[in-house]
């Protein structure tokens, strides 16, 4: 079966670190940073399990600020 591979791109400066994307992701691909903060001082979301993402876009749909862009490609 062809596997779907996804990638998420977080607009770091727009992110407010609410963490809703982290709980929305069924595969735990995203996590909030623990050390880094953006210009506003928020711990932003980042991709921690790059290879696991399937590009379902759950994180982007629940993001209240529209920070996440999602791409998906079928693995040949």
């Amino acid at each position: 079966m062809a596997k779907m591979r996804g990638a998420t791109v977080v607009d770091v400066e727009r992110c407010k670190g609410c963490g809703l994307c982290v709980v929305a992701c069924p595969l735990k691909v995203l996590a909030l940073t623990t050390k880094n903060v953006n210009m506003k001082g928020y711990n932003y979301a980042e991709t921690v399990l790059e290879d696991t993402c399937t590009g379902c876009a759950s994180c982007a749909i629940v993001c209240p600020d529209g920070c996440i862009t999602v791409y998906r490609k079928k693995e040949e």
């Binding site: 809703l20 759950s58 629940v62």
Partner: protein, 255 residues
């Protein structure tokens, strides 16, 4: 396959709606307003009404909504958005007219305007964000505050003997002859967001078909004034708000 190979324009699945401006929203982290703004932007764009939409912004947290969604806006006095929307729609019948109001604006100071605009069957849509509290002013009790819920003006919890009972605006609207479509939705999960988007689309379509007034109530959260994290606020809403404000269509006369 590398990350760079996946991140190509032809593989795009989801991005911020084009109608949503790049300016950062002033809402608190995790606020439901942002999700509803995204849904409204998507629906307006999908209906091809970008150039033909006039929205009315309220007083409350969503007062700056005109900065975030790239359609034409009018700013109404506190609670008077449905009255303004009625006038706009009568002058421009071919425009998509909607108001975007919170519970303090719609269910408290603007109750009369809301009920009469709905009862007159104006061909408008009212998007009602119900988070059971006054957000912008610092967490005071709203007409929709749940019994026993603590706010800064009822620190021992809302007591029905002293403060009365929470107001179910959608249930009232469903009783009115002028309304076409009345629904209550949430935006706390992916499935709920998809349903809410369909509800907003349906309401906008009915208003353009001239079938009457439409009310879309979104039961939402105010994590800052509920003194919770965004994730906890969503759970609290599901456990406490949804039983009192049951979800689903209360009325659909447009079929």
């Amino acid at each position: 396959m590398t990350r760079e190979e996946i991140i190509q324009a032809e593989n795009l699945v989801y991005r911020k709606p084009e109608l949503l401006n790049d300016v950062p929203m002033h809402y608190c982290p995790g606020c439901s307003h942002g999700v509803v703004h995204k849904l409204v932007s998507e629906v307006v764009a999908e209906m091809g009404m970008t150039e033909k939409t006039i929205a009315i912004s309220p007083v409350g947290c969503a007062v700056f909504a005109y900065k975030y969604i790239d359609v034409d806006w009018q700013e109404a006095a506190h609670g008077r958005a449905p009255a303004l929307a009625s006038a706009v729609k009568r002058l421009w019948p071919d425009r998509l007219v909607f108001t975007y109001q919170g519970d303090g604006d719609l269910a408290c100071i603007g109750t009369a305007e809301t009920i009469h605009a709905l009862n007159r069957g104006e061909n408008i849509t009212i998007i009602f964000i119900n988070n059971a509290i006054y957000g912008m002013t610092g967490g005071q009790m709203a007409p929709t505050t749940l019994l026993g819920m603590k706010t800064v003006t009822c620190p021992y919890g809302r007591d029905p003997k002293l403060h009365g009972y929470p107001l179910k605006m959608a249930d009232i609207a469903a009783q009115l002859e002028g309304t076409c479509y009345v629904t209550r939705q949430t935006v706390h999960t992916v499935a709920a967001i998809r349903k809410a988007k369909n509800a907003i689309r349906k309401a906008f379509e009915y208003s353009m078909q001239g079938k009457g007034s439409n009310l879309v109530e979104i039961v939402s959260t105010c994590n800052t004034n509920w003194r919770m994290s965004p994730v906890k606020a969503n759970q609290w809403m599901e456990e406490n708000m949804v039983p009192y404000y049951p979800l689903g269509d209360l009325k659909d006369n447009g079929k």
